[in-house]
Protein backbone atom coordinates (compact mmCIF):
# COMPACT_ATOMS: atom_id res chain seq x y z
CA UNK A 1 0.00 0.00 0.00
CA UNK A 2 2.72 2.41 0.97
CA UNK A 3 4.79 1.50 -2.05
CA UNK A 4 1.88 1.99 -4.41
CA UNK A 5 1.08 5.33 -2.82
CA UNK A 6 4.68 6.55 -3.08
CA UNK A 7 4.94 5.47 -6.73
CA UNK A 8 1.70 7.31 -7.45
CA UNK A 9 2.91 10.49 -5.76
CA UNK A 10 6.26 10.38 -7.54
CA UNK A 11 4.53 9.87 -10.90
CA UNK A 12 2.19 12.78 -10.35
CA UNK A 13 4.97 15.14 -9.29
CA UNK A 14 7.28 14.14 -12.11
CA UNK A 15 4.44 14.64 -14.59
CA UNK A 16 3.92 18.13 -13.20
CA UNK A 17 7.63 18.87 -13.51
CA UNK A 18 7.82 17.50 -17.07
CA UNK A 19 4.83 19.61 -18.12
CA UNK A 20 6.49 22.66 -16.56
CA UNK A 21 9.74 22.02 -18.44
CA UNK A 22 7.85 21.61 -21.71
CA UNK A 23 6.17 24.96 -21.13
CA UNK A 24 9.45 26.78 -20.52
CA UNK A 25 10.67 29.27 -23.15
CA UNK A 26 13.41 28.19 -25.54
CA UNK A 27 16.94 29.11 -24.48
CA UNK A 28 18.21 32.16 -26.29
CA UNK A 29 14.92 33.00 -27.95
CA UNK A 30 14.51 36.67 -28.80
CA UNK A 31 10.97 36.72 -27.39
CA UNK A 32 11.93 35.42 -23.96
CA UNK A 33 10.59 37.38 -20.99
CA UNK A 34 14.16 37.92 -19.75
CA UNK A 35 15.00 39.87 -22.89
CA UNK A 36 13.50 43.11 -21.66
CA UNK A 37 15.02 46.49 -20.93
CA UNK A 38 16.85 45.44 -17.73
CA UNK A 39 19.92 43.67 -19.23
CA UNK A 40 20.41 46.40 -21.80
CA UNK A 41 20.19 48.97 -19.00
CA UNK A 42 22.94 47.15 -17.12
CA UNK A 43 25.15 46.87 -20.19
CA UNK A 44 24.74 50.54 -21.10
CA UNK A 45 24.83 52.21 -17.70
CA UNK A 46 26.78 49.90 -15.33
CA UNK A 47 30.18 51.55 -15.81
CA UNK A 48 28.73 55.04 -15.53
CA UNK A 49 26.72 54.18 -12.41
CA UNK A 50 29.20 52.11 -10.43
CA UNK A 51 32.61 52.63 -12.02
CA UNK A 52 33.34 48.90 -12.09
CA UNK A 53 34.50 47.29 -15.30
CA UNK A 54 33.13 43.90 -14.24
CA UNK A 55 29.40 44.20 -14.85
CA UNK A 56 28.66 40.99 -12.93
CA UNK A 57 30.30 42.46 -9.83
CA UNK A 58 28.44 45.73 -10.25
CA UNK A 59 25.16 43.79 -10.41
CA UNK A 60 25.72 41.49 -7.43
CA UNK A 61 27.36 44.09 -5.20
CA UNK A 62 25.60 47.29 -6.18
CA UNK A 63 22.32 46.90 -8.04
CA UNK A 64 21.38 43.83 -6.02
CA UNK A 65 23.54 44.41 -2.99
CA UNK A 66 20.90 43.43 -0.49
CA UNK A 67 20.56 40.03 -2.11
CA UNK A 68 24.27 39.47 -1.54
CA UNK A 69 23.86 40.64 2.05
CA UNK A 70 21.27 37.88 2.47
CA UNK A 71 23.69 35.32 1.04
CA UNK A 72 26.40 36.38 3.47
CA UNK A 73 23.91 36.11 6.35
CA UNK A 74 23.04 32.58 5.20
CA UNK A 75 26.73 31.66 5.38
CA UNK A 76 26.99 33.19 8.85
CA UNK A 77 23.90 31.33 10.13
CA UNK A 78 25.16 28.02 8.75
CA UNK A 79 28.42 28.53 10.61
CA UNK A 80 26.59 29.35 13.83
CA UNK A 81 24.42 26.25 13.58
CA UNK A 82 27.40 23.99 12.86
CA UNK A 83 29.32 25.48 15.79
CA UNK A 84 26.39 25.03 18.16
CA UNK A 85 25.98 21.38 17.16
CA UNK A 86 29.54 20.13 16.72
CA UNK A 87 31.65 22.17 19.15
CA UNK A 88 31.47 21.84 22.90
CA UNK A 89 33.34 24.98 23.88
Amino acid sequence: MRRVLSILIITIFSLILIITVLEMPVFGDIKNPTNNHVPSWYIENAIKDTGALNIVTSIILDYRGFDTLGEAVVLFLSTISVISILREA
Binding site: L53, D62, F66, T79
Partner: protein, 138 residues
Protein backbone atom coordinates in the same frame (compact mmCIF):
# COMPACT_ATOMS: atom_id res chain seq x y z
CA UNK B 1 57.72 14.87 4.15
CA UNK B 2 57.41 15.85 0.47
CA UNK B 3 53.82 16.90 1.10
CA UNK B 4 54.81 19.21 3.93
CA UNK B 5 57.58 20.91 1.95
CA UNK B 6 55.41 21.37 -1.13
CA UNK B 7 52.60 22.75 1.02
CA UNK B 8 54.89 25.28 2.66
CA UNK B 9 56.09 26.43 -0.74
CA UNK B 10 52.66 26.54 -2.41
CA UNK B 11 50.47 28.08 0.31
CA UNK B 12 51.76 31.69 0.07
CA UNK B 13 51.13 31.71 -3.67
CA UNK B 14 47.58 30.42 -3.19
CA UNK B 15 46.90 33.11 -0.61
CA UNK B 16 48.40 35.76 -2.86
CA UNK B 17 46.18 34.63 -5.71
CA UNK B 18 43.11 34.64 -3.46
CA UNK B 19 43.85 38.19 -2.31
CA UNK B 20 44.40 39.19 -5.94
CA UNK B 21 41.00 37.83 -6.93
CA UNK B 22 39.34 39.64 -4.01
CA UNK B 23 41.08 42.97 -4.67
CA UNK B 24 40.44 42.91 -8.42
CA UNK B 25 36.81 41.90 -8.09
CA UNK B 26 35.61 45.04 -9.87
CA UNK B 27 38.10 44.72 -12.73
CA UNK B 28 38.34 41.04 -13.60
CA UNK B 29 36.19 37.94 -13.13
CA UNK B 30 35.95 36.86 -9.55
CA UNK B 31 35.13 38.82 -6.46
CA UNK B 32 34.40 38.21 -2.83
CA UNK B 33 32.95 34.74 -3.11
CA UNK B 34 35.54 33.25 -5.45
CA UNK B 35 38.54 34.91 -3.81
CA UNK B 36 37.37 34.02 -0.31
CA UNK B 37 37.02 30.40 -1.33
CA UNK B 38 40.57 30.38 -2.72
CA UNK B 39 41.86 31.91 0.52
CA UNK B 40 40.03 29.27 2.54
CA UNK B 41 41.41 26.53 0.28
CA UNK B 42 44.94 27.47 1.29
CA UNK B 43 44.01 27.22 4.99
CA UNK B 44 42.28 23.88 4.38
CA UNK B 45 45.40 22.61 2.62
CA UNK B 46 47.41 23.60 5.70
CA UNK B 47 44.90 21.78 7.93
CA UNK B 48 45.05 18.62 5.83
CA UNK B 49 48.83 18.60 5.88
CA UNK B 50 49.69 19.64 9.43
CA UNK B 51 46.45 18.91 11.25
CA UNK B 52 43.80 21.25 12.58
CA UNK B 53 45.43 21.52 15.99
CA UNK B 54 48.72 22.90 14.74
CA UNK B 55 47.03 25.39 12.43
CA UNK B 56 44.68 26.62 15.14
CA UNK B 57 47.72 27.35 17.32
CA UNK B 58 48.84 29.89 14.71
CA UNK B 59 45.45 31.14 13.56
CA UNK B 60 43.30 31.44 16.65
CA UNK B 61 39.74 30.24 16.37
CA UNK B 62 38.45 33.39 18.05
CA UNK B 63 40.19 35.57 15.51
CA UNK B 64 38.63 33.64 12.63
CA UNK B 65 35.20 34.01 14.15
CA UNK B 66 35.81 37.72 14.74
CA UNK B 67 36.89 38.17 11.14
CA UNK B 68 33.74 36.47 9.93
CA UNK B 69 31.37 38.56 12.03
CA UNK B 70 33.25 41.76 11.32
CA UNK B 71 33.23 41.13 7.59
CA UNK B 72 29.49 40.64 7.62
CA UNK B 73 28.93 43.80 9.71
CA UNK B 74 31.26 45.73 7.41
CA UNK B 75 29.30 44.68 4.35
CA UNK B 76 25.97 45.51 5.98
CA UNK B 77 27.29 48.89 7.14
CA UNK B 78 28.47 49.75 3.62
CA UNK B 79 25.10 48.83 2.18
CA UNK B 80 23.33 50.99 4.77
CA UNK B 81 25.57 54.03 4.13
CA UNK B 82 23.43 55.08 1.19
CA UNK B 83 20.41 55.43 3.45
CA UNK B 84 21.90 58.43 5.26
CA UNK B 85 21.90 60.43 2.06
CA UNK B 86 18.19 59.92 1.56
CA UNK B 87 18.58 59.30 -2.16
CA UNK B 88 18.66 56.26 -4.33
CA UNK B 89 20.07 53.38 -2.39
CA UNK B 90 20.88 51.15 -5.34
CA UNK B 91 23.27 51.92 -6.94
CA UNK B 92 24.73 53.65 -3.93
CA UNK B 93 25.18 57.28 -4.78
CA UNK B 94 26.68 58.08 -1.38
CA UNK B 95 30.23 57.64 -2.59
CA UNK B 96 29.85 59.01 -6.10
CA UNK B 97 32.96 61.12 -5.68
CA UNK B 98 34.99 57.97 -5.00
CA UNK B 99 34.20 56.35 -8.32
CA UNK B 100 37.49 57.34 -9.94
CA UNK B 101 38.44 56.29 -13.44
CA UNK B 102 37.07 52.88 -14.42
CA UNK B 103 39.98 50.48 -14.76
CA UNK B 104 42.09 51.70 -11.86
CA UNK B 105 42.54 49.51 -8.81
CA UNK B 106 41.13 52.14 -6.45
CA UNK B 107 37.92 52.92 -8.26
CA UNK B 108 34.25 52.01 -8.22
CA UNK B 109 33.63 53.44 -4.77
CA UNK B 110 32.05 51.09 -2.32
CA UNK B 111 32.21 47.93 -4.42
CA UNK B 112 35.90 47.65 -3.60
CA UNK B 113 35.29 47.85 0.16
CA UNK B 114 32.26 45.57 0.04
CA UNK B 115 34.29 42.95 -1.83
CA UNK B 116 36.87 42.98 0.96
CA UNK B 117 34.31 42.29 3.68
CA UNK B 118 32.60 39.63 1.62
CA UNK B 119 35.86 37.86 0.79
CA UNK B 120 37.01 37.63 4.39
CA UNK B 121 33.56 36.48 5.52
CA UNK B 122 33.51 33.66 2.96
CA UNK B 123 37.08 32.60 3.80
CA UNK B 124 36.36 32.47 7.54
CA UNK B 125 33.11 30.58 6.95
CA UNK B 126 34.80 27.89 4.88
CA UNK B 127 37.60 27.52 7.40
CA UNK B 128 35.23 27.28 10.40
CA UNK B 129 33.03 24.71 8.66
CA UNK B 130 36.03 22.59 7.71
CA UNK B 131 37.66 22.72 11.13
CA UNK B 132 34.37 21.88 12.84
CA UNK B 133 33.72 18.86 10.66
CA UNK B 134 37.33 17.70 10.81
CA UNK B 135 37.33 17.67 14.61
CA UNK B 136 40.11 18.59 16.98
CA UNK B 137 41.60 15.15 17.58
CA UNK B 138 43.29 15.02 14.17
Amino acid sequence: MILKHVTVIVVPFIQMYGLYVVYNGHLSPGGGFAGGTILAASLILLCLTFGVKKVSERISYKIVRFVQGFGLLWYGFIKILGLFQGKHLIPDSFMKFMLGTPGNLFSSGLIFLANLGLGFTVAATMFILFSCFMGEDQ
